[in-house]
């Protein structure tokens, strides 16, 4: 152990660098600062259709992340999707009549839940339920509805039938 000083300094630097790298990955690369989970309260919401929503998807209010989707289950009594949301304990003033909607971030992005505050004076707490929900928009249904409404309008405008034909291949 003749270069023991150099060795010790080198090892010290190495370990410090490694820990710094881990720290950077945790703080700068990942979303540690945004939400760490576990210290929030849980509320449930029922949706007719959740589309492509996944666990750990963000829950936002006014575009700000306030929590995440904890679990997704299917309720075979009501034939609805039962989604449990984990809301960060910092936000305690979410009205009970808030609306939960499933939106898509961007054209190809993942789906998330947006909460829109209601007017109620009572706030959500552990175990609460969001009654007002809006399902995810499913592309096929949208196209189907569009075609349906166009067909219902009848052949009064030539552009309409043209639009219907154009939309058909998109299916």
């Amino acid at each position: 152990m003749f270069h023991s000083k150099t060795v010790e300094i080198g090892v010290g630097l190495f370990v410090a660098l490694g820990l710094a790298a881990l720290f950077m990955l945790a703080m700068k690369v990942s979303n540690l600062s945004a939400f760490s989970g576990g210290d929030g309260y849980q509320v449930t919401a029922r949706f007719q259709n959740i589309g492509g929503l996944k666990e750990r998807a963000p829950v936002t209010m006014s575009g700000v992340r306030v929590g995440r989707v904890k679990s997704i289950d299917f309720d075979d009594q009501s034939y609805q999707a039962l989604v449990t949301l984990d809301i960060d304990s910092r936000w305690t003033r979410i009205p009970t009549d808030s609306t939960a909607s499933i939106f898509t971030a961007g054209l190809l992005g993942e789906q998330y839940i947006a909460l829109e505050a209601g007017g109620e004076e009572q706030f959500l707490a552990e175990g609460g339920e969001l009654k007002l929900t809006q399902s995810a928009l499913v592309l096929e249904q949208l196209v189907g509805q569009f075609l349906f409404s166009k067909a219902a309008e009848g052949p009064k405008a030539p552009e309409g039938s043209k639009g219907g034909e154009a939309a058909a291949p998109a299916r």
């Binding site: 660098l17 490694g18 690369v29």
Partner: protein, 260 residues
């Protein structure tokens, strides 16, 4: 026909013998680990030769891998007008896969082969037998510190690899190709999850560290004590540990990221 069966049987037996010996060996080494913790200097010296000396190759490779990811990711994403997601692509590929895997492969080539050669040569030059005759257990004195050092160094190396890789990707994406700096980081932070991605990456690198170091020290300790034997053992270390890393990576990925 009988001869073929006999040979097959012998090969099979040898395989199981080695497998068993390898696991018993691991057990003995693990028994020696607590003692190493009380002799910190031994560990420091080994972290130096296993970890610090692998640092340069890991740093350089990490930067280049990150830069390549930045370039390739940009070319693909720009077609979808989604080049802001470059940070996500770079960070996720590095943290989940390339960081642990490539760092482990480099580690096997740099530190694993050196460990095997060193221990094999110590065996060939009777240094291990000499220690035993001085009533010093070479498993505790020689192998255990190296094992522990490898196990500790590998996650650090993988983290460093990922971190400099992200910086390399950032340099190419933001610095050269003009991706928006804020979007690069914020998208990354929004999509990379501490538990799912980073922690699982660290777990991977710990597993790879254990496996690569285990293979390396075992091959060295089990080497035929001649120069040819040590050479073969060194080759085996690199081949076996690379295969083990890639195979285990699949298993771990399937276990970790397949639950949604």
């Amino acid at each position: 026909m009988i001869e073929v069966l006999r040979r097959l049987g012998r090969t099979g037996l040898q395989f199981f013998e080695r497998l068993g010996r390898g696991h018993l060996f691991l057990g003995y080494v693990l028994l020696g680990v607590p003692e190493v913790l009380s002799r910190f200097r031994l560990l420091v010296a080994q972290v130096w030769s296993v970890g610090v000396l692998s640092l340069v190759i890991v740093l350089v490779s990490g930067v280049f891998v990150g830069m390549v990811l930045g370039l390739q990711g940009y070319n693909t994403l720009v077609d979808f007008n989604a080049e802001e997601s470059l940070g996500v692509v770079v960070a996720l590929s590095l943290v989940r896969e390339l960081g642990p895997v490539v760092a482990a492969l480099l580690f096997a080539g740099r530190a694993g082969s050196a460990l095997t050669a060193e221990i094999g040569l110590m065996k060939a030059t009777e240094q291990l037998a000499g220690m035993e005759m001085m009533a010093v257990d070479p498993l505790r004195r020689v192998v255990a510190p190296r094992f522990l050092a490898g196990l500790l160094s590998m996650p650090l190396l993988a983290a460093i690899f990922s971190a400099v890789g992200v910086l390399g990707g950032w340099f190419v994406g933001v610095g050269l190709l003009g991706v928006d700096d804020g979007a690069f980081w914020s998208q990354m932070q929004a999509k990379v999850d501490l538990h799912d991605d980073i922690l699982n990456g660290v777990i991977k690198s710990v597993v790879f560290g254990i496996v690569v170091t285990w293979i390396a020290v075992f091959e060295g300790y089990d080497a035929v004590p001649t120069s040819e034997g040590v050479g073969r053992a060194t080759t085996r270390t690199v081949v076996h540990s690379s295969l083990a890393v890639l195979g285990l990576d699949f298993v771990l990925t399937a276990l970790m990221f397949n639950d949604i």
